[in-house]
């Protein structure tokens, strides 16, 4: 799965997520990516999220919208990502990763898997990572 989140000069946020799904999946199986609130969500009032991970688990907790809910309650993107990923792990046993940008331009890339490739640019500074 791949994804992106952004905020532009006007303060508008957006998200995009795309995937080939699970390898050897059943014909017709659709995971979280295409489901609004699971594979991604964007709201100028809060921020934008794109997810990756075990689709059925992400769909059970509606991960992207759950994380934005935590941000609406005052959590930072990093705190909200941890809260959402921890809930998914403890409640349904699923792991994955998320990228987030909020309406102030704060961002994070967090994952409960061992690895997730990610990159970010803010203030013309490039950041790249794979491991914790």
């Amino acid at each position: 799965t791949v994804g992106a989140v952004a905020i532009d000069c006007q303060g508008n946020v957006a998200c995009a997520t795309s995937t080939g799904g699970l390898t050897n999946k059943m014909v017709g199986r659709v995971g979280d990516t295409a489901c609004i609130g699971s594979g991604g969500y964007a709201d100028n009032n809060v921020g934008a999220v794109s997810t990756t991970g075990h689709g059925e688990s992400i769909m059970k907790v509606i991960l992207a919208r759950l994380i934005l809910h935590h941000m609406e309650q005052g959590k930072s993107p990093e705190e909200a990502a941890d809260a959402g990923l921890n809930y998914m792990k403890s409640r349904v046993g699923g792991i994955g990763g998320v990228i987030i940008v909020n309406s102030s331009g704060d961002w994070t890339a967090k994952f409960s898997t061992n690895q997730m490739s990610w990159a970010a640019v803010k203030d013309d500074q490039l950041h790249i990572g794979i491991y914790h």
């Binding site: 799965t1 791949v2 994804g3 992106a4 989140v5 952004a6 905020i7 532009d8 000069c9 303060g11 508008n12 946020v13 957006a14 998200c15 995009a16 997520t17 795309s18 995937t19 080939g20 799904g21 699970l22 390898t23 050897n24 999946k25 059943m26 014909v27 017709g28 199986r29 659709v30 990516t33 295409a34 609004i36 594979g39 991604g40 969500y41 964007a42 709201d43 009032n45 934008a48 794109s50 990756t52 075990h54 688990s57 792991i95 990763g97 990228i99 940008v101 331009g105 994070t108 898997t113 690895q115 997730m116 490739s117 990610w118 990159a119 640019v121 803010k122 490039l126 790249i128 794979i130």
Partner: protein
């Protein structure tokens, strides 16, 4: 407002020898998206352009390089969302196109719906002039090998991926 963009290339198991390839891929994507933002482009176009780069990189599981289903075929899903007005478009189980994210944006902008699937999504892609490509052209040797390996007796690939993301 200073523009910001973040991209990901998927969570899971990354083999060490491909570390640099993954890094190069996400770097190309994020710089493409940031270029859009730096020129005053919208966040919506920035995320679309970044994801197109990732779909075109064979190392990632999307577009070219998508994994194969149980029949050895490719079925892809994509979503895009605009935080300005909560508009969103998505496609699922789409075949024979290189960049599902482009079609997701067209669903958002050209229909009254939020998700088109399977044959209907394919018909919509044709109507919108999205070039049709053979699904085989999206299949990489790596994906095919992985699929073949998962066909072996005692293999439980779907369950095994729960812990990988």
């Amino acid at each position: 407002m200073k523009p910001v963009i973040v991209v990901h290339g998927g969570a899971g198991k990354i083999v060490e020898e491909l570390d640099a390839t993954y890094r190069a891929g996400v770097k190309r994507a994020v710089l493409k998206g940031y270029d859009v933002l730096s020129q005053g482009g919208s966040a919506l176009t920035a995320v679309e352009e970044a994801v197109i780069v990732l779909e075109d990189e064979q190392i990632f599981n999307a577009g070219h390089g998508s994994v194969l289903n149980e029949k050895g075929d490719i079925e892809m899903d994509a979503i895009i969302m605009d935080g300005k007005n909560l508009d969103s478009g998505a496609v699922s189980a789409i075949r024979n196109i290189a960049n599902p994210i482009k079609l997701a944006r067209l669903v958002m902008e050209k229909t009254d719906h939020m998700l088109l699937t399977c044959e209907g999504a394919t018909l919509f892609a044709k109507a919108q002039g999205i070039p049709e490509v053979p699904n085989e052209s999206l299949v990489t040797e790596r994906s095919r090998k992985r699929w073949m390996k998962n066909l072996k007796e005692n293999s439980n690939p779907v369950a095994d991926q729960i812990g990988l993301g």
